[in-house]
Subunit: 338 residues, 2 copies
């Protein structure tokens, strides 16, 4: 494959018979350029297959036309959907988007942020249920930063999340189904703020509804503790499990099947996020679909305002999600005979 040489603006200018400053002005539509010059430049650019070097352009103009997005794990439907929506919103506002998916630990996150910053991100979006507070503050110390679905509200840092009411609604639905003893999964990762606050909200709502609760540890990898905890929860009489994420819910159900238990006849299970296949009626998972579109739209809006130096007074925006009533939540098995 023969590659065409990267043509520079000066070559376009020469071909058009103007100076490179005129070419620059013609190409980015700024300043006054005669119609003749503009057309000549545009034609030359097209003919030569010119592609502007955005690094040099940003550098020279010390402008910030790029937004950086840090997501937790691109392979997870929730984050994938989020990235796709953010992409759409930034594109619509003529920002370039650089996406990196950072790890679960602070080191990886800092390095990912450095990549973003190094490539000239003028604003950063952090969408990771496991973003470290230090990472968020690090980013924020350089450029405007908005968190999405992180569940961690820090003073001075914009945050967009799902409304607490949506988490409560799910817990109430479980209570209303008649369950009297419910297990809630809790991540042991100290960075999982989103999960922690979710767990806390579930627990609060359940307790208020006079439901007994049990905690089951969940971990991103290594199911051992989850399975063990699940087993003892069931032995303790739990009739429903509220998982913090759809992924965990599905793992729980699979484990139940393995034990010969049916869902929801024997045990009810709920998830959270409701992205992609997880909200398919075919799977029938009872979950809450996060308002990804609303959240990302607001986040990009907010970021744009901040990047433009505007002031906004928002301690934290919250949007309601949508309860998806699947088939995995039902009444508890009738134990009257016992």
């Amino acid at each position: 494959m023969e590659r065409r040489p990267r043509v520079r603006m000066i070559e376009v200018a020469r071909a058009a018979g103007v100076s490179h400053s005129t070419a620059s002005r013609a190409l980015n539509g700024s300043g006054k350029v005669s119609e003749a010059a503009r057309q000549a430049v545009e034609r030359a650019a097209r003919d030569l297959g010119y592609v502007r070097d955005l690094r040099a352009a940003d550098l020279a103009s010390s402008r910030a036309a790029t937004v950086g997005l840090l997501i937790r794990a691109a392979e997870r439907p929730f984050y994938g959907e989020l990235a796709a929506r953010v992409q759409a919103h930034t594109e619509q506002r003529d920002y370039d988007l650089l996406t990196v998916s950072g790890g679960d630990d602070l080191d990886h996150q800092i390095r990912a942020l450095e990549t973003l910053l190094g490539h000239g991100a003028g604003g950063i979006l952090i969408a990771s249920g496991r973003a470290a507070a230090e990472a968020i503050e690090y980013a924020s110390s350089f450029v405007p930063t908005v968190t999405v679905g992180v569940g961690l509200v820090r003073p001075g840092i914009d945050a967009v999340d799902i409304a607490v009411e949506s988490e409560q609604e799910l817990a109430e639905a479980v209570a209303e189904a008649g369950h009297k003893h419910v297990a809630v999964t809790a991540s042991s990762n100290r960075l999982a703020y989103a999960l922690h606050s979710r767990t806390a909200n579930f627990l609060t709502s359940l307790v208020l509804a006079d439901v007994r609760t049990t905690i089951v540890p969940s971990r991103a990898d290594g199911d051992e503790r989850l399975i063990k905890g699940l087993r003892s929860a069931l032995d303790a009489g739990v009739t429903a499990v509220m998982a913090g994420e759809d992924l965990t819910a599905v793992r729980v159900i699979e484990q139940l099947v393995e034990w010969g238990l049916r869902c929801p006849e024997d045990v009810s299970v709920t998830g959270f996020d409701g992205a992609g296949a997880y909200r398919s009626p075919l799977l029938g998972l009872t979950t809450v679909a996060q308002p990804v579109e609303d959240m990302t739209g607001a986040a990009v809006d907010l970021l744009q305002t901040r990047m433009a130096g505007g002031r906004v007074d928002t301690a934290g925006l919250r949007f309601p999600g949508q309860l998806v009533r699947g088939r995995t939540l039902g009444p508890p098995p009738d134990l009257g005979g016992a």
Copy 2:
């Protein structure tokens, strides 16, 4: 939030009492620097919170440390998984990764590629079942380009795909289940090469197995034609539907349910891709899991070699996928009584 001013290398140099050239050498480990100077610079950099401006660095060194990834739709599990794996592989090789998810049409794709190129991508990975040949050639005319799962083999352009055998295997499984008349979905989008070749492979295998075939149109959006086609296929006596993607398979099953038909008792359905939730035993979809890890690893390897100017002799690499035997493929209903 007060932002710290972006400190430049020259400031680090001053703080360390050396020239910026020395600071540069110390910071990127190139050239000879005295131990004393190196430590002073490193300390100054840390103290000042220095973050190197990669735009300027790349510009000055005219080096290509960045790989661009164009994926079709970040929200789709298959592409999400792909992006995540590519990220891991590039990171491991010390490349930065810029990801953009391009649209379904040529215009969007070209613009996305320009963004990548503009930010200094020295090599491009195209992972989109709908990448236009023009887009691929466009990218390839500038920098080394490797396609992943595009299903379009062009001379001179490296391609990594799933092995045809894996597609055949699925079709054979359908035939072996006893189906004598099978519908295959076919995208009407002229850019959907991957789907086209998949459809073709399905059809070929089915015909070789002496199975009658029918085509059902499928489209990314607007289910009308899919539903109508499905209806007439069923009326024509089809007992199994082979969809080109899991997403389509799920839609087909949902539609069957709506018509009061059971899967697989009345109609069998198979998918393709097997990413994330789609290969969960809970869903039970019969599909083929693409060898995403193998494909992305090979693609990044290949790209790295090309970027380094190396020569490789590969008309197209292919890796076998894994047949996932779910519950949506069964024997055809016994029509003996009719």
